[in-house]
């Protein structure tokens, strides 16, 4: 197993009228081939921006991105285009991410045509192959997106991402717009494809039960910074950061015998615009001390493989 993606001190700031918005602020991680990194957090925490910056769909403000050992942070437009064959994205909303005037086979053929990879006859064959792969019946080849339901539309989105046979896919909330019974179908499909083609995923979502199900490692983000990262099972068994604890205990569990010890988080996310030099979570944290109000915590390995950024992590968890 080898490392496929390495991200070092990645930052992405946006200039907005009110100041500088810190969407992604100093994020570092690596992903091994064939694994899934789940990225969770509440809306506005920068998880989608992270996914897009890693793909170079947005230029990072600073930091480095290595893909298969090669620095891709400052590559040329041409090289960037070539990179698209290896790195792809599945979008959240299958209703707005598909061109309504393209039929299914046009939509799936689109990335193939862009790279001029096949002749006309081969192209048709290839499109049908991809439709089989993602479980879209061939009779829909000439249907338009509005004729299909959300689950099938999302299969088109997945087909488009897979058309170029990529190695790495960012899944940006691919199942949030779907009903549970359909969501389960799509999650199984993504897992099957991963097994078959040795795909590596970054799986961005706000749904914690989904992320637990599909991820190898999970990273929790809060207002642009990573607060905790560790293997999926470890995160749910032993969350160390106070935000993760609150987040996990806030999930309603579909089991009436489940005893809920809720760490209720008060308040809401503070603004990511020009954040003060303090822990981002300090205003909602039940354990906040003086040091949290004047210094940003560093990101450190607290137990083997378990990274947390919190000043008081050892005191809170009795480590």
């Amino acid at each position: 197993m080898s490392e496929i993606l390495r991200v070092e001190h990645l930052k992405k700031f946006f200039d907005v009228p009110a100041g500088t918005l810190h969407a992604v602020d100093d994020v570092s991680f690596t992903i091994q081939e064939g694994q899934t990194l789940g990225v969770v957090g509440e809306s506005g925490c920068g998880k989608s921006t992270l996914g897009r910056t890693v793909l170079k769909l947005i230029e990072p403000t600073s930091g480095k991105i290595f893909f298969e050992g090669r620095d891709i942070t400052d590559i040329s437009k041409h090289e960037n285009r070539e990179l698209r064959k290896k790195m792809q994205i599945i979008f959240q909303d299958p209703f707005s991410s598909l061109n309504p005037r393209f039929c299914v086979s046009d939509l799936i053929a689109d990335p193939l045509k862009t790279f001029g990879m096949y002749g006309k006859k081969e192209l048709e064959e290839r499109v049908l192959e991809i439709m089989d792969l993602v479980g879209l019946s061939r009779r829909y080849a000439y249907s338009y997106p509005h004729e299909l339901d959300g689950g099938r539309r999302q299969r088109i989105g997945i087909g488009r991402a897979l058309a170029l046979d990529p190695e790495f896919i960012v899944c940006d909330e691919p199942v949030s717009a779907l009903d549970v019974s359909i969501q389960a179908q799509i999650l199984n499909l993504l897992q099957d494809l991963q097994d078959k083609r040795k795909l590596t995923y970054i799986f961005v979502t706000h749904d914690l039960s989904v992320v637990k199900h599909i991820s190898t490692d999970i990273m929790v983000m809060y207002i642009g910074v990573m607060v905790e990262k560790c293997p999926a099972k470890e995160l749910f068994a032993r969350p160390l950061h106070p935000y993760t604890k609150g987040l996990l205990s806030a999930i309603p569990v579909p089991n009436i015998h489940h005893e809920q010890k809720r760490v209720q988080l008060q308040g809401e996310l503070s603004s990511p615009i020009d954040p003060a030099e303090e822990c981002r979570f300090v205003k909602r944290c039940p354990y906040a001390t003086d040091i949290c109000r004047c210094k940003q915590p560093t990101y450190e390995e607290v137990t083997p493989g378990h990274f947390v950024s919190c000043h008081n992590v050892r005191e809170i968890n009795g480590l």
């Binding site: 019974s181 205990s249 309603p252 569990v253």
Partner: protein, 324 residues
């Protein structure tokens, strides 16, 4: 008699080309102070049912084709418009799904709440606005924010405003249509706790429409599972969560990734919900069912009481029980 009793309610959307059978003969009961969870997928007819209770089904194309809705012993479907208007927003009120669109963007939130109060209690403007501030404080919004406009609030705060508005006249029955779907989990937990707390304090009954079984487990007393316009299973929380009998209910539980257990693969329900404009002749769930028999495609299953208070609409329950 229960606070709300729905009998054989049928609602259709009629267009020139087709008749969409959104709600097909459902029966529901809510007692005072109790919460009923109405669970189902997109297009199952949950919201249409809620609109039917409030007399808000858009007509045309919507028609209430049959049934009775008794509220405090009175049939709402036979009531005059003027009578319904006195009940709606007063004794029965609704929390809409999307707080972003449920508020008027050009009216201050305090005034929006005061409008409901003034309309139903007939009190003076200043009294109404004092009451509206009280309501905002009840849901945890500071009094000075009552003069702000909806866009100045975050999603969670907007939902609190909508809840304050729904509770302003101390309704007997609160219909909450996916009240937390648009919110983040930590905010959702805050809003749910607040709603539970207010429900107990004001002794309000609630019809909670949701697709999240986790929320149902936390807040409801009874559960109705809806599929293609019908209630396929109905019972207490313990009936549905400990002893689900209908294959659709069982399928729903299998589709949710569990936080407690480690499951390698989910067991989704294959296929899709049938088109409500073209429902099959027999059981609506037949095509997706794992334990169907010949009878299922032929005749509509009966709605049977399998144990006291636990109803299931399935013709092949025994066959199923052996398989499980």
């Amino acid at each position: 008699m229960s606070l709300l009793e729905i009998r054989d309610l049928t609602i259709q959307y009629k267009t020139r080309k087709s008749v969409v059978e959104a709600v097909n003969g459902i029966n529901l009961k809510i007692d005072e102070g109790k919460t009923l969870g109405l669970v189902g997928e997109t297009g199952a007819g949950k919201t249409t049912t809620a609109l039917g209770i409030l007399g808000l089904v858009p007509n045309p194309p919507g028609v209430i084709a049959g049934g009775e809705i008794y509220f405090e012993g009175k049939d709402l479907l036979k009531a005059k418009d003027s009578e319904i208007r006195k009940i709606r927003g007063n004794k029965i009120s609704m929390i809409f799904q999307d707080p972003m669109t449920a508020l008027n963007p050009v009216i201050r939130v305090g005034d929006q709440i005061a409008e409901v109060i003034a309309l139903h209690s007939g009190c003076s403007k200043s009294e109404a606005s004092a009451k509206s501030i009280e309501m905002l404080e009840l849901v945890g919004i500071r009094a000075e924010r009552s003069t702000e406009y909806p866009h100045q609030f975050s999603g969670g705060m907007k939902q609190r405003v909508v809840i304050a508005m729904a509770l302003a006249c101390q309704p007997k029955l609160l219909i909450a249509d996916e009240p937390t779907t648009a919110l983040d989990v930590t905010i959702q937990a805050q809003v749910l706790e607040m709603m539970n707390d207010l429900k107990v304090r004001l002794n309000t009954s609630m019809l909670l429409i949701t697709h999240d079984l986790g929320i149902v487990a936390e807040t409801c007393d009874d559960v109705a599972i809806m599929y293609a316009g019908q209630i396929v299973e109905y019972g207490t929380l313990a009936h549905i969560f400990d002893n689900p009998m209908h294959p659709y209910t069982i399928g729903l539980f299998g589709s949710i990734p569990s936080l407690d257990k480690d499951v390698d693969r989910l067991t989704p329900i294959p296929g899709l919900m049938p088109d409500p404009a073209n429902l099959p002749k027999g059981c609506n769930f037949c095509e997706r069912c794992t334990r169907k028999c010949d009878r299922c495609a032929e005749s509509e299953p009966e709605y049977l009481e399998v144990e006291p208070g636990h109803f299931v609409r399935c013709s092949n329950l025994n066959g199923g029980a052996e398989n499980v």
